[in-house]
């Protein structure tokens, strides 16, 4: 049987970050997949050792642009665990609010990108348009659309004023209606159901083997969420629930992410109500980090962010270990892509919501025997969009 090697990456137009996958194919079916990382590796763990405890927060933010506040929260949790610091109540609510706002904009970003991979460019435009008000809230509260610099060891750096709370509430109310429309459009669309159901399935055993986390795990019925299992910030002070699905395919992953958005809005609204009543400091002063070890975790939009720090009582970390969620989610390709067709690979890859920049640190199909190029990145994207068109036709929908 002829085997064809399909390197994906490193520069594919819609995976903005460079990554390299080699797909081994037998005709139309994928037989094996290999991941070569390193194009985004910036040596952050080593850089951490040369910065002061406070400076590390700014460095850590820039691990990833989309989960920009997840890493600082996990890092601050780690140091607060080490030094046994309890942050003030107001800071807890502010941390949850910023974290959940980030989850909202990240999931909307994903919905947009996934829509584009399938050929639904209107979904892309809508989702990113609805993202903008959230970025406006961020700018109003923190001063920047991304890289908020809100977290510090011992609390948060900026407060949310009462006047802003009303504006945030208004924007979120408008967003709820739009989210409901978007969710309905995605979940009720028969073409999307035909395209995504049963594609890229991950079983519970796969999730356990690879240690996958986040919506990827929850879509396969594995009920884990750091916000509930290891509560911090305000997550055990407000009412919300963890969303899981049972099927483990790309459709379930979309469902989990969309429904999580509504839970995020619930958390933010409850936190805003409490914030209006609670007075107090937003941070406690931390003068000295004793020697010891600390572990901090946070449920980023993609899964569990894990930070381990070790201190010897000086002003810099001795060791700072960072594990981003995509590091354990991306290898699940081995389980979800094998047996699938090449046209589905782009959407399966997208279903994990990979964030390559978090993880470290483009697609061409070659004939294995002659090394002649068969398809390239844009062709694979077209294959994916073409499959959607075929399914649309089968179901009797006219091409828009």
């Amino acid at each position: 049987m002829k085997k064809v090697i399909v390197p994906i990456g490193p520069y594919h137009p819609l995976f903005e970050e460079p990554e390299y996958f080699a797909l081994y194919c037998d005709g139309e079916r994928v037989v094996d997949i290999e991941w070569m990382a390193g194009y985004n590796h910036r040596g952050i763990e080593k850089l951490s050792e040369s910065k002061h405890w406070d400076q590390v927060t700014f460095l850590i933010e820039r691990i990833c642009g989309i989960c920009s506040t997840s890493h600082p929260i996990a890092y601050c949790n780690a140091v607060e665990d080490l030094a046994k610091i309890e942050i003030p109540e107001r800071a807890k609510y502010i941390r949850s609010i910023v974290g959940e706002l980030e989850r909202l904009h990240s999931h909307l970003l994903w919905v947009g990108l996934a829509g584009h991979f399938l050929g639904y460019n209107t979904v892309f435009m809508w989702a990113w348009k609805y993202r903008e008000p959230i970025l406006d809230i961020m700018e109003m509260v923190t001063g920047n659309r991304n890289h908020y610099a809100m977290m510090k060891i011992g609390g948060v750096r900026r407060d949310i004023e009462n006047e802003d709370i009303d504006i945030i509430k208004k924007i979120l109310d408008e967003l709820k209606g739009k989210l409901e429309m978007l969710t309905g459009a995605v979940l009720d669309d028969p073409v999307l159901a035909a395209r995504l159901k049963g594609v890229g399935v991950l079983t519970k055993q796969d999730i356990k083997d690879y240690g996958a986390v986040g919506p990827v795990a929850r879509a396969s019925g594995v009920d884990i969420d750091v916000r509930r299992d290891n509560p911090h910030a305000a997550y055990n002070l407000v009412e919300w629930k963890v969303i899981t699905c049972q099927d483990g395919d790309v459709f379930s992953k979309a469902v989990v992410r969309l429904l999580e958005c509504f839970e995020s809005i619930k958390i933010i609204e409850q936190s805003l109500v409490r914030l209006k009543k609670i007075k107090g400091d937003i941070a406690i002063e931390v003068r000295y980090i004793p020697s010891g070890e600390g572990i901090g975790r946070y449920e980023a939009p993609r899964g569990e962010c894990y930070h381990y720090v070790r201190s010897d009582g000086t002003s810099r970390p001795v060791r700072h270990k960072i594990r981003a969620p995509s590091y354990v989610n991306i290898p699940t390709f081995k389980a979800s892509c094998i047996g699938e067709t090449i046209a589905d690979v782009t959407i399966i890859l997208a279903g994990i919501d990979p964030c390559y920049c978090c993880t470290e640190r483009a697609i061409t199909v070659y004939d294995a025997d002659t090394r002649k190029k068969l398809f390239d990145g844009k062709d694979l994207m077209k294959l994916s969009q073409e499959k959607t068109r075929k399914i649309k036709k089968q179901l009797g929908f006219k091409e828009k």
Partner: protein, 146 residues
């Protein structure tokens, strides 16, 4: 803590020390020879989730911490293993935990630790550095000589 009592009961003196940093963070020290048995117990019998592994260069020796999560209780168990710095090598746990493949490759290239019986021990994140340049070691220079 009940779960840790189970581990101590099963392995007795092989657990060299148990440190409770608080009720959710436990550090167990073991010898590298006992690593596979303890990992098997924690991963299969206690149904823990493998989070990651951290390699640390202590100049006098090297240390690897294997982090596992007991999600139903929110507890993180970290297994601490010390290895020799001049010839750092240890058994790979990929036979039990598939998800440890990439982190062991990363520790190999950034710290120089060899993992025995690893199915494909080669560089993962960097490939143009000269042999012997291990960035995360404490005595490594800031940049590699190109």
């Amino acid at each position: 803590m009940e779960i840790i009592e189970q581990v101590k009961e099963k392995f007795k003196s092989k657990i060299k020390s148990v440190f409770f940093h608080n009720e959710k963070r436990v550090y167990l020290e073991i010898d590298k020879e006992d690593l596979i048995d303890v990992v098997k117990f924690i991963f299969h019998d206690l149904d823990a989730r493998f989070i990651t592994a951290s390699g640390i260069d202590n100049l006098k020796d090297m240390e690897i911490l294997y982090h596992f999560s007991l999600d139903s209780d929110g507890i993180v168990i970290s297994l601490r293993v010390f290895i020799d710095r001049d010839n750092p090598c240890i058994e790979s746990i990929t036979s039990i935990v598939k998800g440890a493949l990439n982190i062991e490759r990363e520790m190999y290239e950034l710290l120089g630790i060899k993992f025995l019986n690893h199915p494909g021990l080669k560089r993962f994140l960097t490939d143009e550095f000269p042999e012997g340049f291990y960035p995360l070691r404490k005595d490594s220079p800031g940049r590699a000589e190109q």
